[in-house]
Amino acid sequence: MARLPKGSDDGKLNIPQGTLELLILTIVRREPLHGYGIAQRLKALTRGTFEINPGSLFPALYALERDGKLRCEERLSDNNRQARYYTLTSVGRTQLEREEQRWERVTAAIASVLQGA
C-alpha cells in the first residue's frame, strides 16, 4: 500500500506498519473530513509524533474508498472551493472495530512482554 513517511530526528516517528488504515478510520469516525484535515488531526492528536505526508495519505485514502470502507462527498468549503470529505461507511466501521480489537491485543501483548522481561 502506501509508502511510510521517513522518520527524522525532530522527535517524529514512523507510523507502524499496517496501522495507517486504523488511524485514518478512527479520525474520520468522528466527522467527515478532507485530506488536509485528516493529516492535521493526526499531527495534533499525536502532538507531532506522527506526521503523514500527502504522498502516503492519498493512496491510503483512495484504497480505503476503493474497498468501500470510506465514502466521499464533494462539498463547497468555506472559501467557495470544491473539497472532498471522507466519511466512514458501515463496512469501514466494522473494519475499524475489528482493527481496534486487534490493536488492543497487540499492545497488551507487547506490554506484558516488556513488563515480564
Partner: protein, 618 residues
C-alpha cells in the same frame, strides 16, 4: 465482499478514469490551498506559502502516480496495453497480418463447420416436447456378437446387420407383449425404416418409409401440421393398414404443401393408403441418418413386396426398434428394473420353451438376457443406422484437426520468422527490465489480435465448408440441411482463442532464449538466429510437410470412392492408408478389413435391399 468492491473499483478505474482523475485534482488542490492558508496565517507571504505547500505535497504528479498505482490492476492494464501495442504493430505489417489472419480463418472455419455438423447430427435432441424422458429399449445380448458366441443358436434372425448398442432390434410379438405391461412408461412405440416404392397416382418413386406403431406419435408428443397423426386405432389388426401420414418435407415437395391432400390415396408397395395427416415441420422421424417421407402403420401387410418385413408372427425375427417415454418424474433405473421383470417373464414363459437345438447352458443364458434403457432424447443414433454419418464425421474430424494443426504450424512459423527479425526489440525489452512474463504476454496479445478477426472471418469459411461437407455420403443422408448455429459461432471464438494460445506459445521458447547482450550487439547485423530457434523452425517446417502429406493421402483416399457409395466405407480405406506403413499391423487387420469391405455394401441405408443384406450377419 471486498472482491465485489474491487471489481466495481476496477470497472470504475477502467471506464471512468477521468472521474477519478478529477477527484484527485480536487483533493490535491484543496490540500495545497488549506496548507498554504495555514502557512499564511503563520506569517508567510502568499507566494512563499504556496511554494512551501507544494514542496510539502512532495510533487503533485508523484502523489497522483502513487494513487494511480494503488487503484490500478497491473495485470489488466498491461494486457490492455499489450493488446493496443499488438494492434498498432500488426496494422503496420499488413502482409503478415493478412496472411496470418486468413490462414487462421481457414483452420478455424473448417473446425466450426465440422462442429456444426456433429452438433446437428450427433448431439441435437429430437424436436419433441421433453425429449429427455425418451428412452431406447436395448438388449445388450442380442446382436452379431452374441450370435457369434451362441453358435448353433437357432435365433434370432436379424432383419439387417446390427452392431448392438441402442440400435437393438426386437421381434414384433415381443413388442406387443412389452406394450401390454408398460407401466413405467407413458407409452411404448415401435418403428423401423425401410425403402419402398411410393406412388401418388402418376408418379412412382422410391422413398424411405417409416413403419410405426399407433403409439409412435403420441409417445413422441408431436402435433400434426394438418389432419391427424397415426393413433392406436390405426394399428389394431396385424396385416392391415389404411392410413398414411406424410412427412412435412415430402408434403411440400410432392404435393406443394396442398392442404387438400387429406383423403387422397397414396400407394405404398401396391397397398393403397388414405392420407390422414401431415407430420410437423422439422420432424424427420426418430433416426438420425434416415429421414422418412411417409409414416405407415406397423401392421402393414407382410406380403406387400418386401422380402422379410413386416413380420408379425415370428418371435425369432427381430426387426423393430423400441423406444418409450418415461412417466413424469420416473427414473430410467426404476423403469429398467420394472421392465426387466416383465422381459424375463416373457423370455422364460413364452420364448424359452420355443427354443430347439440348444443346450441347458444356452437356454439359461437366454432366460437371463437383460433389457436396458438408454437415453433416447436424440432418437436412434447408435449402430448401423448412424455409421455412415459417423464414419464420415470421424474422417472429417481428423481432416479438420490436421488442417488446424497445419494452420497452427504455419502461423507459428510466420510468427517465429518475425520474432527472429524482432530479436533486437525483445532483447531491448529484456535489458530494460521486461520480465519473461511480460514478453510472453506481449506475444500472446499479438496472436489474440490475429485470432479474433480470424474467428469472425472463419464463419463464412465454415459456411462454405459446410456446403462441401454436406455432400459427403452419409452426412448428406443424415442432415441434408445443416446450418451454422450460435453454438458454432461460440465454438469459433473458443477455437480461435485456443489456437491463439498454441500459436502464440510455440515461438515463445525460442524468444526467451534470446540473450539480451548478444542480441543487442548484433542489433545492427540483423537476423540473429540462435541455433535452437533455427532448429525449432526446421522442426515446424518438417511438421508442416508431414501434415500436408497426411492431408493429401486422406484426400486422395476420399476422392476415389466418392463416385460410388457402394464400395468399402471411407473409414476403412483411411485406416488402410494410415496403417500401410506399419505393414505388420496392417496385415493383422486385413481379414477384418475384408469383412468390412464386403459388409459395408449393405451398410448404407439407401442401398439396403433385403436381398442384399450381408449374409455373414444373418
Amino acid at each position: 465482499m471486498t472482491l465485489l468492491y474491487r471489481i466495481r473499483a476496477l470497472v470504475r478505474w477502467l471506464f471512468r478514469r477521468d472521474e477519478i482523475e478529477r477527484a484527485l485534482d480536487t483533493d490535491l488542490a484543496d490540500y495545497i490551498e488549506r496548507s498554504a492558508a495555514e502557512k499564511m496565517r503563520a506569517g508567510m507571504t502568499e507566494a512563499e506559502a504556496r511554494r512551501a505547500a507544494r514542496i510539502e505535497l512532495g510533487g503533485v504528479e508523484q502523489t497522483k502516480d502513487s494513487v494511480r498505482a494503488t487503484l490500478s490492476w497491473p495485470a489488466i492494464e498491461n494486457t490492455v496495453a499489450d493488446l493496443g501495442y499488438a494492434l498498432r504493430t500488426l496494422s503496420r505489417q499488413k502482409t503478415f497480418t493478412t496472411v496470418a489472419v486468413l490462414t487462421l480463418a481457414v483452420g478455424i472455419g473448417v473446425n466450426v463447420a465440422i462442429f456444426s455438423l456433429t452438433e446437428q447430427i450427433l448431439l441435437r435432441p429430437l424436436p419433441v416436447p421433453e425429449p429427455d424422458r425418451l428412452v431406447n429399449l436395448t438388449d445388450p445380448e442380442t446382436g452379431p456378437k452374441s450370435t457369434g458366441r451362441m453358435g448353433t443358436f437357432p435365433f434370432p434372425r436379424f432383419f439387417s446387420s446390427d452392431s448392438g448398442g441402442n440400435d437393438t432390434l426386437f421381434s414384433y410379438p415381443m413388442f406387443r407383449d412389452l406394450e401390454r405391461g408398460q407401466e413405467p412408461f407413458v407409452g411404448l412405440a415401435a418403428h423401423v425404416f425401410h425403402e419402398a416404392s411410393i406412388s401418388t397416382g402418376e408418379i412412382t418413386r422410391s422413398a424411405i418409409v417409416a413403419f410405426v406403431s399407433g403409439s409412435y406419435f403420441s409417445v413422441l408428443g408431436v402435433q400434426p401440421t394438418l389432419g391427424r397423426l397415426l393413433s392406436p386405432e390405426d394399428d389394431r389388426v396385424d396385416g392391415q393398414a389404411q392410413s398414411v401420414v406424410l412427412g412435412h418435407t415430402y408434403w411440400q415437395t410432392e404435393f406443394g404443401g396442398d392442404p387438400d391432400v387429406l383423403g387422397q390415396t397414396l400407394t405404398v408397395e401396391k397397398v393403397p393408403l388414405t392420407i390422414v395427416g401431415v407430420a410437423p415441420e422439422g420432424f424427420h422421424g426418430t433416426s438420425v441418418s434416415a429421414r422418412p417421407s411417409v409414416f405407415v402403420p406397423i401392421t402393414f401387410p407382410s406380403n406387400a413386396g418386401f422380402l422379410d418385413i413386416p413380420n408379425h408372427d415370428g418371435r425369432d425375427f427381430y426387426w423393430v426398434h423400441l423406444f418409450a417415454r418415461l412417466q413424469p418424474g420416473g427414473s430410467r433405473e426404476g423403469a429398467a428394473a420394472a421392465m426387466n421383470t416383465l422381459y424375463r417373464a416373457i423370455l422364460n414363459d413364452v420364448e424359452a420353451p420355443l427354443l430347439v437345438g440348444v443346450d441347458e447352458q444356452q437356454r439359461d443364458a437366454f432366460r437371463l438376457r437383460p433389457l436396458a434403457l438408454e437415453p433416447g432424447a436424440r432418437g436412434r443414433t447408435g449402430g448401423r443406422i448412424l455409421d455412415p454419418a459417423r464414419n464420415s464425421l470421424e474422417l472429417l474430424f481428423a481432416v479438420s484437426a490436421v488442417v488446424l494443426l497445419l494452420v497452427c504450424a504455419n502461423v507459428a512459423g510466420l510468427i517465429l520468422l518475425r520474432a527472429t527479425t524482432r530479436s533486437g526489440e525483445i532483447a531491448l525489452r529484456a535489458s530494460l527490465g521486461a520480465t519473461r512474463m511480460r514478453i510472453v504476454s506481449l506475444q500472446l496479445a499479438e496472436s489474440l489480435v490475429l485470432a479474433l478477426p480470424a474467428a469472425i472471418l472463419s464463419l463464412p469459411v465454415a459456411w462454405v465448408a459446410l456446403r462441401g461437407a454436406s455432400r459427403v455420403p452419409g452426412i448428406a443422408a443424415a442432415a441434408p440441411d445443416v446450418s451454422l448455429s450460435t453454438a458454432a459461432a461460440l465454438v469459433a471464438i473458443g477455437v480461435a482463442v485456443v489456437t491463439a494460445l498454441v500459436v502464440g506459445l510455440l515461438p515463445v521458447r525460442g524468444m526467451l532464449r534470446i540473450k539480451p547482450g548478444n542480441a543487442l550487439q548484433a542489433f545492427g547485423a540483423r537476423h540473429t538466429t540462435t541455433k535452437s530457434v533455427a532448429r525449432f523452425r526446421t522442426a515446424l517446417a518438417t511438421a508442416q510437410v508431414a501434415l500436408s502429406m497426411a492431408l493429401t493421402s486422406i484426400r486422395s483416399s476420399c476422392s476415389r470412392p466418392a463416385a460410388g457409395m457402394d464400395g468399402p466405407s471411407t473409414q476403412t480405406r483411411v485406416s488402410c492408408v494410415a496403417s500401410k506403413k506399419r505393414s505388420r499391423r496392417f496385415r493383422a487387420c486385413l481379414p477384418w478389413l475384408r469383412r468390412q469391405a464386403r459388409c459395408s455394401r449393405s451398410e448404407d441405408f439407401s442401398a439396403t435391399r433385403p436381398s442384399r443384406v450381408c449374409q455373414e450377419k444373418r
